[in-house]
């Protein structure tokens, strides 16, 4: 019983509700005879699709800058890289990896600037980050209209600017998904996608155990103590933010190749929230995160969303419960994490 209580405490009320809801949906799905195998393959696919964006939260949290709501900044870098790969008329894996290769240095440079800013606003990183992300997205809206691209796949046929959505179906849509994919019974496993996520997770795991990663963790856990023992806290935080931004850039390219489109203009604005929510559902808090939190959280959150849609369609014919579930669950868990972070004490 004691053990059980301990587990309950560790999970917290919000996570318990979400898990119960998840279980309830699973049971409902079985009861109304939805094709479980299809739901499962969809969930696995979406886990791979969102995974790296969620992974991007880890270095931010570890380095002590909290939940990186500024991830849209990284996403924009990824989109720029992606558009240039199309501009060079590349296809398949070449196209995909060129996009990644272009976006990484870009994201590192911009992440450096963003990190400098974040170091100036200790204590309000999340709020400032959110609005820096929003501003970057809306500034880039003007950017998309003005950056000169020549490829007809990117440009509007008439007028100025870049299309709102850019299809990848003739270039590198689903290259990762279809790489060595196979079926277990009816369940489809997108091997390449999952492999890519695992490789990234592995790199992150190794990094966190390297010297650089350990100092970063120390700086995040207790900045004053770390400073006293000779660690340059600001530098560690900067490193965390840069890494997070870079992963955001790679994450959106992975997302886009699976989704089949690059979405520009306003669409990156709200993309940070599901990523933040996923890692929190997985068990992370505003100052502690693990790789396992990423995988578990993404799977749970995406599973919820995947199941909510067909189930509501069975029960009520109109309305999209999936969207509502997304809003309530993601913001509910973020709120929960915030109350735990503040803990009712004064933040001085």
């Amino acid at each position: 019983m004691k053990k059980f209580n301990k587990l309950l405490n560790r999970l917290g009320i919000a996570r318990i509700i979400i898990i119960l809801f998840f279980i309830a949906l699973c049971i409902l799905a079985v009861v109304i005879k939805l094709p479980i195998s299809m739901l499962l393959s969809e969930t696995i696919m979406r886990t791979g699709m969102y995974g790296i964006l969620v992974l991007a939260m880890v270095p931010g949290i570890i380095s002590g800058t909290g939940l990186n709501f500024g991830i849209p900044i990284g996403i924009i870098c990824g989109l720029v890289g992606g558009l240039y790969s199309i501009e060079f008329n590349l296809n398949g894996f070449t196209g995909f990896f060129t996009a990644v290769a272009i976006s990484i240095p870009l994201a590192a440079a911009i992440g450096y600037g963003y990190g400098l800013l974040i170091n100036k606003v200790k204590g309000s990183e999340m709020m400032v980050g959110t609005y820096m992300g929003f501003s970057a997205v809306s500034l880039m809206c003007i950017g998309w209209l003005l950056i000169p691209f020549n490829s007809p796949a990117i440009k509007w046929p008439i007028g100025k600017g870049v299309r709102v959505t850019i299809s990848l179906s003739e270039r590198y849509a689903k290259v990762l998904n279809n790489f060595m994919n196979f079926k277990i019974g009816e369940v489809e496993i997108p091997t390449g996608l999952i492999l890519f996520l695992f490789i990234n997770c592995l790199f992150m795991w190794i990094f966190l155990r390297s010297k650089s990663g350990v100092t970063m963790k120390a700086a995040g856990d207790n900045p004053k103590f770390a400073e006293a023992s000779g660690i340059n806290v600001d530098k560690c935080r900067l490193r965390g933010i840069i890494l997070s931004t870079v992963l955001g850039a790679v994450g959106i390219i992975v997302y886009a190749q699976s989704y089949g489109f690059y979405q520009l203009y306003q669409s990156p604005m709200m993309m940070g929230f599901p990523a933040v929510a996923s890692i929190l559902i997985g068990g992370a808090s505003t100052n502690d995160a693990k790789i396992s939190h990423v995988l578990v959280g993404t799977f749970l959150f995406q599973g919820l969303l995947v199941m909510a849609l067909p189930i509501t369609n069975e029960i009520v014919k109109e309305g999209d419960l999936s969207e509502i579930v997304r809003i309530i669950v993601s913001n509910g868990i973020i709120l929960y994490a915030l109350t735990k972070a503040g803990g009712g004490e004064e933040c001085e």
């Binding site: 709501f69 800013l117 100036k120 606003v121 200790k122 204590g123 309000s124 999340m126 709020m127 400032v128 959110t130 609005y131 820096m132 929003f134 501003s135 997205v137 809306s138 500034l139 809206c141 003007i142 209209l145 003005l146 007028g159 100025k160 600017g161 929230f273 509501t312 009520v316 014919k317 109109e318 309305g319 999209d320 419960l321 969207e323 509502i324 809003i327 309530i328 913001n331 509910g332 973020i334 709120l335 915030l338 109350t339 972070a341 503040g342 803990g343 009712g344 004490e345 004064e346 933040c347 001085e348």
Partner: protein, 421 residues
């Protein structure tokens, strides 16, 4: 010789003073310049801009003013006014369903939305007490969360759990409220159309009001300056009164007097509350929660009260907003309310810890001037109206981001200085 020295001293003093004014109001001055440039670029007529501006001031000021009390109480910018707006919309949906017209409908909306807003404000306040130091992000996320609940209620529960039969408002399937509700059968213009006067007459009345005020001040204090100012106002007022008798665009612009009076009343209310005991508690808590707590103020309760007041005012503000717009966008009208109101307040020169009525009104005027002229200015400058529109969106987010950043930066700087000492 000495005389020139004094004058030089005076001059440098003046320069320092001007420098200080410029520095303190940097944001506002920047936006004034930006607005002037954009007005010139847009090439739109003064009539169009003024007409739009008057309508928008009447529509939005109340919401912006509802933000002031939480700032005084040290809770930062209350992104949770969105929740008040949702309470207002719930009331509007009910009144639109019952089809109660005119001012009666409007009053009923106020009656219905107030208890709801008090309840929601109480919950918000309780939550913000648990997230001290992160109030702004918590209130923002809570706004998003409440939006989810709002959608759940009005999209799924109406017609399934909550019985409601109304082919005008409910979707054809019988479940969920329609995307847009036309309010012309209920509260559209119910407040605006109560009293309407041309702008020229309104300005004349305002001028005469100021004249009386300064004259009264002169009688009390016997300062020549006041007499002079009141004389200026009587001339200006006279001019406006004369204009009324001729064909001029100022006569074609109608001012919703009742709405403006409500806004004025809220300004007085904000000032009044600061002089009461409650207001003193707000200030004490805002300055230093710890000291306020030690000196016997129930900090948590004071903070909850601040948020309740703000939420109720925001609900009324949203009612004023929607009776002017005339159509309720059920799932969209409330979403941007918080953002726009906060951006307006900040443009007026307010900060996270300091805001007053004047800043709110000036900010609203500047923000909406920019909103009106940006698309045309963008079109004339870049040949693309879209750029102007994106620019104004960028300004909304940018001004909030920069001002939050500057505030946090200043805090950290002062903390470091303190630690070094």
């Amino acid at each position: 010789m000495s005389k020139t020295k004094i004058s030089v001293n005076k001059k440098s003093e003046m320069a320092a003073k001007i420098n200080k004014i410029l520095f303190d109001n940097m944001v506002t001055i920047l936006f004034i310049v930006l607005c002037i440039i954009e007005i010139i670029l847009s090439g739109q007529s003064a009539y169009f801009i003024l007409n739009e501006l008057v309508a928008r001031i009447a529509r939005n000021s109340f919401l912006v003013l509802s933000l002031i009390i939480p700032v005084i109480a040290g809770m930062g910018l209350n992104f949770g006014i969105v929740i008040g707006a949702m309470a207002a919309q719930a009331a509007i949906i009910a009144v639109a369903h019952w089809q109660i017209k005119g001012i009666l409908g409007f009053l009923l909306c106020i009656l219905l939305s107030t208890p709801l807003a008090i309840l929601l404000g109480y919950i918000t306040g309780k939550l913000l007490n648990k997230t001290k130091g992160q109030e702004m992000i918590a209130s923002m996320i809570f706004g998003f969360f409440a939006n989810g609940i709002y959608q759940l209620i009005f999209l799924l529960l109406i017609g399934t759990i909550i019985p409601m039969k109304d082919p005008v408002i409910v979707l054809s399937s019988g479940v969920g409220i329609k995307n847009t509700i036309d309010l012309s059968g209920s509260i559209k213009y119910s407040l605006d159309n109560l009293i309407k006067l041309p702008l020229s007459i309104t300005l004349a009345i305002i001028c005469f009001g100021f004249m009386v005020y300064y004259l009264w001040k002169y009688i009390k204090k016997r300062e020549k300056k006041n007499l002079f100012v009141s004389l200026l106002f009587i001339i200006a007022g006279g001019c406006f009164a004369v204009i009324y008798n001729y064909e001029f665009m100022l006569n074609k612009i109608n001012v919703p007097i009742a709405t403006m009076l409500l806004i004025l009343a809220l300004c007085f209310f904000n000032n009044f509350i600061c002089s009461t005991k409650l207001g003193q508690n707000f200030k004490a808590v805002g300055q230093n929660m710890h000291i306020a707590g030690v000196s016997g103020i129930n900090v948590d309760k004071v903070r909850v009260n601040a948020i309740i007041i703000s939420t109720v005012l925001a609900a009324w503000g949203q009612l004023i907003f929607l009776q002017n717009i005339g159509t309720l966008n059920t799932y969209g009208s409330h979403e941007q309310v918080g953002m726009f109101a906060i951006a307006s307040l900040l443009i007026g020169g307010a900060t996270v810890t300091n805001a007053d009525n004047k800043q709110a009104i000036i900010g609203t005027i500047l923000f909406h001037t920019m909103f009106i002229v940006s698309p045309m200015a963008g079109k004339n400058l870049f040949g693309n109206a879209q750029i102007g529109e994106y620019f104004r969106v960028f300004v909304v987010y940018g001004v909030i981001g920069v001002s939050l950043g500057l505030h946090a930066w200043k805090n950290q700087y002062e903390k470091n200085k303190l630690m070094k000492q």
